[in-house]
Amino acid sequence: MSEPKRDLVESPEQAASTGTLAARISLSQRAGGVIVPVATVVFAFLMGGLVVLATGHNPLLAYRDIFDGAGLNWIFHPTTNTAINGGVPAQAAFNLSQTLLQTTTLILTGLAVAFAFRCGMFNIGGQGQYFVGIIVASWLGVDFAGMSAFPHILLALSAATLAGAVWAGIAGVLKATVGAHEVISTIMLNWIAYYVASWLFGDGGPLHWSGAANATTPLSNPVSPSAQLPVFWGTGGGFGGLDIGFFVALAALVVFWILLNRTTLGYEVRAVGFNPDAAAYGGINVKKNLIRAMAISGAFAGLAGALDLLGGNTSNFQYGPLDVQVSQVGFIGIAVALLGRNTAVGTFLGALLFGSLLYGTTQGLTSNVIQTDLATNLTYIIQGLVVLFVGADILILYLWNSRRRLRPRRAPHAPAKAAA
């Protein structure tokens, strides 16, 4: 009785009513377009505002401070000057450069989730793949110090990308061969990567900062200058300025779009995502595509880790167990991808939103209205609400459709009034 039966045949009605993940996504894309994401974000900000209001702060002023903290007020006084003491315009420019650094990471962790989604899988393991990318980038960025800059960067980035792909590929292989649910296996892989990274970067770990003076500092070796990404806006690396990693992320968006929409690989991946059975019937190797899609997903997340370490998103090009503990970028990638409806443009916009929230509520925030500690948690609340409501597209589509259904009923009355 308690042995679950695996060969139960679903009735066609049931299959149609629940549908696959990708079918649901395509449904809401056809029906709602950008309405669901926009409505979701507005609603999440409203709810977040209510929490702020209920705890005795002014939500409008709080959001304005977060907006400024993210450097989005730069559009009112654009400047390229990011000097720390350069007044409001320079401060805005500096904040914006930092926000774009966060956006860089989130674009890639978002793509990591989005690509797997398009193949009907949920890659919840972006965080682990990101750590693996950081580990490999740290190892190669430190140990091959003699190389000249361009090959060194290229080596570290590609190796980290590959490592992320392999790490996610484990989940893909398990899914394709023994049917292990990718959510479970990627969660486990996340924590394995978490502890391996904590061990490698921690005191006495193999990648720990060498030298007796640093013996008890829980940080990795600083990446050698030849592997550090060049900065094009602002000064210096390590929370200094915006590096070329931003363009790498933008290029990844293009690659993602071309791969999905203009190649056979993308066609097969999407076909498997829509309906694995139909894809198999059409001659597509489903197992191969599951593995491939997971590996490509992981590649994006691994690249995100490498760009963070080699670029300006880590202090002094080092990483430590404390960074491992607080890092959430892989998980925020889920919100980014879902909000962006798993498309390239949507992922970019989602990453910009969450990048702004992430920086605007932490280091960037200077506010008398709301403390940084409160604002940081506000980000998590908004993020949770966004994910909750983006997933519930049926609710928003229902509300939207019922609004449209009301229109024709009102229409006959309107001319009557006009005539009278």
């Binding site: 009785m1 308690s2 039966k5 705890t55 398990l174 394995i192 061990w199 500690d373």
Partner: protein, 401 residues
């Protein structure tokens, strides 16, 4: 149900000729090989663990050739690991071994295992009814914070327990509405719950306590049992009341799930909701009930974190730090069964306790040791040692017709 009755009907003599029984015996011997070298037995010669380990390997191979291949190879692996650990232990000093393997290790195993037991049983109720609950982590975190808040403002830990359970259940209710009525993707919904809980607890922790609990809070008491002898008293003589409650919960969960009509209904909704609907079971009602119950149970695990002997009336940001996910892993490792989930939760608690103790030697080894639960679960879902089988309709939304 069938396996339990079969096992009870088989006399021991039959069991020895049964490859399954031999396989389990071999698994036990493999584990025993490692324990030979540590207190209280403390064999000082590496020959003992090697001998016992070889017996385990031989029995494992025999089992594997008799058709129970996974069990057999599992026993072989256990024998090899047992020999390895046994040899390592004999080479280490008795003094060091004494500091690691003592009665407090058992006490800590149960202590660290308690939130995992609550979480695993909670997740089991939800998943047996057909709703995946990735949000265990968030619901546990809610229990931890609001439990503390209730104990602080209400003056007694009972109020904290009730408030924690209520808030955990409330968050689960929200999740249930999205997962069941709106049929949103359950993984997405669960992820959202985790974010929400992190944000809400973090926000109110700052708002109410400014990030630091000051002053003493009423905590859940320990139950002292005297007169058990030195070793037993050190291990189970001073456990939290919530730890004992978790043991009771396992038995209760087993009885409810497998011995009552309610349990049958829950499992029916998880295996074949349409069939359940046809015979007049309200699938939605059962699933709502199970998810809310799941939120309340896992919240007790959270309350234990903040008000139990480890938290002792404090809260820190992201206090659960992945314990909800380990609980989820324990439930999967335990194959969606109360006894299995309990065993896995205690095993994972043991590995955490051992990691704590190992910090005496080396913090790096202790860090690495914490990987164990996740690797074991990964191996379990990969089907290397005994395939785990989820309820058939787990994670599939049900649309009424």
């Amino acid at each position: 149900m069938s396996t339990w009755t079969q096992r009870l009907e088989n006399p021991v003599s039959d069991g020895l000729r049964n490859p399954a029984a031999t396989g389990y015996l071999a698994l036990f011997l493999g584990a025993f090989a490692a324990f030979l070298a540590i207190p209280p037995i403390e064999a000082r010669s590496p020959l003992w663990p090697i001998a016992v380990g070889i017996v385990a390997i031989a029995l494992g191979i025999w089992t594997a050739t008799r058709g129970r291949r996974r069990l057999g190879y599992g026993a072989v692996a256990a024998g090899l690991v047992g020999i390895g650990l046994g040899i390592l232990a004999t080479r280490s000093g008795t003094g060091n071994l004494g500091t690691v393997f003592d009665a407090t290790l058992i006490a800590q195993t149960f202590g660290l295992g308690t939130p995992l037991v609550f979480g695993a049983i909670a997740g089991m109720f939800s998943e047996r009814s057909g709703v995946i609950n990735i949000g265990l982590e968030g619901m546990m975190l809610m229990g931890a914070f609001w439990g503390l808040y209730g104990a602080d403002k209400g003056g007694t830990w009972i109020v904290g327990l009730l408030l924690g359970m209520a808030v955990g259940g409330l968050l689960a209710l929200v999740y249930a509405f999205f997962a069941i009525h709106l049929r949103s993707d359950q993984i997405v919904g669960g992820t959202a719950v985790n974010f929400l809980a992190l944000g809400i607890t973090g926000y109110f922790f700052q708002q109410f306590y400014n990030g630091q609990v000051t002053g003493s809070v009423s905590v859940a008491p320990n139950i002292h049992i005297a007169g058990l002898g030195h070793f037993l008293e050190g291990s189970i003589g001073n456990l939290s009341i919530l730890t004992w409650a978790s043991f009771a919960l396992v038995i209760l969960a087993w009885v409810v799930l497998f011995k009552t009509p309610i349990g049958l209904r829950i499992r029916a909704c998880g295996e074949h909701p349409r069939a359940a609907d046809t015979v007049g079971i309200s699938v939605y009602a059962v699933r709502y009930g199970c998810v809310v119950l799941s939120g309340m149970l896992v919240a007790i695990g959270g309350v234990y974190l903040s008000l139990g002997p480890q938290g002792n009336g404090t809260f820190i940001f992201d206090m659960t730090s992945g314990k909800g996910f380990i609980a989820l892993a324990a439930m999967i490792f335990g194959n969606w069964r109360p006894a299995g989930a309990f065993g896995a939760a205690i095993l994972f608690g043991f590995s955490s306790a051992l990691a704590l103790k190992l910090q005496v030697y080396s913090s790096q080894a202790a860090t690495l040791f914490q990987i164990l639960p996740y690797v074991l679960t990964l191996v379990a879902v990969a089907g290397v040692i005994g395939r785990t089988v989820a309820p058939a309709a787990d994670g599939k939304p049900y649309a009424k017709q």
